[in-house]
């Protein structure tokens, strides 16, 4: 075991920190620490400009192979980039879905033509993506998608019909990847396709969902004979589930350590508030703040273990705890923030329904234990896949 990064990696850390310090200033100063979870609807224009600044500096898609426009950065370097990005207050990435999900999926499962058409736009910070997975009747049971894809021989395009929900960034995205049923008589995992669909077309309507926070980052997306080019299906019709599951693997990666730097910023804000208003003297608050600190430290150690082990990139049994762990931790932090603030936690800045950062943390963190697999689904996954306990019986 060795905790230190190599001298080369530390030099890389300085390079990243230096670049961030030089560039996240001036026109970009207002978006420092903005646009994260619960704040993704803010500063969209500025954050798009920021993506292009990142791209010009060679800081988008650094984990992609060089032949795909990336830097082929090592796991360590990706971790360091994510940490320094967050430490500097780098804004929520507009391009994270394209960079973290679409790109790796196309690199793994896409054909040359798809890679050539889609990767450069993502790499350049010019084309943004959203994810069309969940549906009203396909939440935890993702395989229950009803959205249909029918190939129109005459027009030579796929026609998509159905509804997606909980689609973040849909109103700002240029493209959406969608799983839809290519075989109308199929059920569950079979008969699905994985489609790349242009958002700006008459067959698509985006309706924002007003959330518990009063804001709208998530949307419903309606597909009414929306068109998808014949060359824009990844894999063959029927391969959709395999592609989608491969993609979920990309979601749990190095970004976790950058995410934790964001959590550290939030915990620091709670600590500052406690020192400021005297809550830091309350023995129960002290216990809970220390507990949050312990939880975050261990979250980092868990990630270091996940990233160090399994050289073949396979998900080790202990990796199954990650989502349940961080989501529960952050939800507790949100409540702790409120308890630290006391009666002031309730007060809004103005007359509108505008939340402060800790209020947003409190309310938005209720989503953390639901999206991306609820805590209950995560416990099933841990029990069944890591502990080998019997699988849940299927309903009819």
């Amino acid at each position: 075991m060795k905790l230190e990064f190599s001298a080369a990696d530390e030099a890389f850390r300085e390079e990243v920190a230096g670049w961030m310090a030089e560039n996240l200033v001036g026109e970009f100063a207002p978006i420092r620490f903005r646009g994260g979870p619960g704040d993704e609807h803010m500063y969209v224009e500025e954050r798009i400009a920021w993506e292009q600044r990142l791209a010009a500096g060679g800081w988008t898609c650094i984990g992609w192979p060089e032949e795909c426009g990336g830097r082929g950065a090592s796991i360590e370097q990706q971790v360091i980039f994510a940490e320094e990005y967050a430490r500097a207050g780098g804004p929520g990435r507009m391009g994270h879905i394209g960079e973290g999900l679409t790109g790796p999926t196309l690199i793994a499962f896409g054909n040359e033509d798809q890679q050539a058409r889609f990767l450069p736009g993502i790499r350049a910070g010019k084309e943004f993506w959203c994810q069309g997975y969940s549906e009203p009747s396909a939440g935890s049971d993702l395989a229950n998608v009803k959205t249909k894809a029918r190939f129109d021989e005459e027009r030579g395009v796929w026609l998509i019909n159905g509804q997606k929900v909980w689609t973040s960034l849909a109103q700002d995205a240029d493209w959406c990847f969608v799983i839809a049923r290519t075989d109308p008589d199929s059920v569950a995992h079979k008969g699905l396709g994985f489609f790349l669909i242009r958002m700006d077309q008459p067959g698509i309507e985006v309706r924002p969902i007003r959330q518990i926070t009063g804001t709208s980052e998530f949307n419903e997306v309606f597909f009414d004979d929306a068109e998808c080019g014949a060359g824009d299906i990844v894999g063959a019709p029927g391969d959709g589930w395999k592609v989608a599951m491969g993609l979920l693997g990309f979601e749990r990666g190095v970004s976790t350590l950058g995410q934790q730097m964001g959590f550290q910023n939030e915990l620091n804000a709670v600590i500052a508030a406690a020192k400021d208003n005297g809550a830091a003297a309350d023995p129960l608050i002290r216990q809970r703040i220390a507990d949050a600190h312990v939880g975050l430290k261990i979250m980092r150690y868990n990630s270091l273990r996940m990233l160090s082990g399994g050289g073949d990139g396979s998900l080790q049994p202990e990796a199954t705890i990650y989502k349940l762990y961080w989501a529960s931790w952050r939800r507790n932090l949100g409540k702790l923030a409120m308890d630290v603030l006391g009666p002031e936690a309730e007060m809004l800045e103005g007359q509108g329904y505008e939340l402060g950062p800790l209020q947003t943390l409190f309310l938005f963190s209720r989503a953390d234990t639901i999206y991306g697999g609820t805590n209950q689904i995560q416990r099933n996954i841990i029990a069944e896949r890591a502990l080998g306990m019997p699988r849940e019986p299927k309903g009819n």
């Binding site: 075991m1 060795k2 905790l3 230190e4 990064f5 190599s6 990696d9 360590e76 971790v79 940490e83 430490r87 934790q260 730097m261 550290q264 910023n265 620091n268 600590i271 406690a274 020192k275 830091a280 023995p283 002290r286 216990q287 703040i289 220390a290 507990d291 600190h293 312990v294 975050l296 430290k297 261990i298 980092r300 150690y301 868990n302 270091l304 273990r305 990233l307 160090s308 082990g309 202990e318 705890i321 349940l324 762990y325 209950q376 995560q378 416990r379 099933n380 841990i382 029990a383 069944e384 890591a386 502990l387 080998g388 306990m389 019997p390 849940e392």
Partner: protein, 394 residues
Amino acid sequence: MEFAFTEEQIMIRETAAAFLQEASTSAAVRAAMDTELGYDPELWSTISSDMFWQAIHLPENCGGMGLGYVELVATLEQMGRYLLCSPFFSTVCLAANALLVHASDEQQIEWLSPLASGEKTATLAYTSRGTDWSAESVSVTWTPVADGYELNGEYRYVIDGHSADCLILAAREVGSTGADGIRLFLVDSDTEGLQRQRLGTIDETRKQAAICCDSLRVPVSAVLGDPATEACSSLSTVIDLATICVAAEQVGCSQQALDSTIAYTRERVQFGRTIASYQAVKHKAADMMLKVEAARSAAYYAACIAEEALSGGVLGQELAEAASVAKAYCSDAAYFCTGTGIQLHGGVGFTWEYDIQMYFKRARASEALFGAAGQHRERLAAMLLDAPAIGGAL
């Protein structure tokens, strides 16, 4: 950066697991814990002469193997998993660490060598009745007398204090307070003026004793290190190093509670299916696994930091924090996992016959040692909230 075992470390862990599975069976543990000594001297002799575990992290010039704290912690995890009854913890994690941290080079060669060879056992006594486990809690006093010192006072919660061959005693100068006046003394346990008494404990797998110093006379040569040097901060380091060892045992204890509980729920049939198939049971098991894995991460990170602290590495300054993070989390995890283990075992979990009760008791007893979870959280809170700033780094 590589936060994973090397192949050699994996081998050490696997060897320990295989040995203990055979040697520290339920029957062996129950037999050993029923004795006054608290362990099987034959097994201890095999461990010290064939396995050399007591020598793992001790320096080679004292007969040790010169390996690191990670190897030590990997072995301790397995000892916790199999509830090994032995004087290992007291001899290695307490006494040997005290010598490593505070004794002079000559004293290390003289006093560590018999510990490294397994010839002698030893322990550290510093606590008296009360709930404070910090170095400053030392209450036994010393006064200078002709040719040495006289010690007076009573220690409690001394691990293996009734059986150890040598004792390292922490005492403070009469009239001193706080961090001042503390010294460490090494004495043979049959020295006149020492009274030792084993204390009955709920957890019978680790014995504790009371030691009374009644005008105990010790020579100047018994003082660890330079007699003029304050020992409080060294003692604090030793406590942190031992705390990490307890956390490692707690990881093994939690893991075994999980494993035996899963095994039981996969066999036990009710309403025509194994109880492992019920979501109410699966979700509890998932919570147990989350805590086991997080506890393991904390203990191994702390082991890396302990290694740095003992070798003078820069990350060694994190020792107190890493020890408290590990102990706070692992204590809660072990209590949760063993308690949930009893619950998922149902009625048989409440019997003397099934082993889960022994793990539960061990978890509870370990929780109290060197400060309960709440005390370690308070220590962290003081670092976070009372100091000027801890910095933004994780």
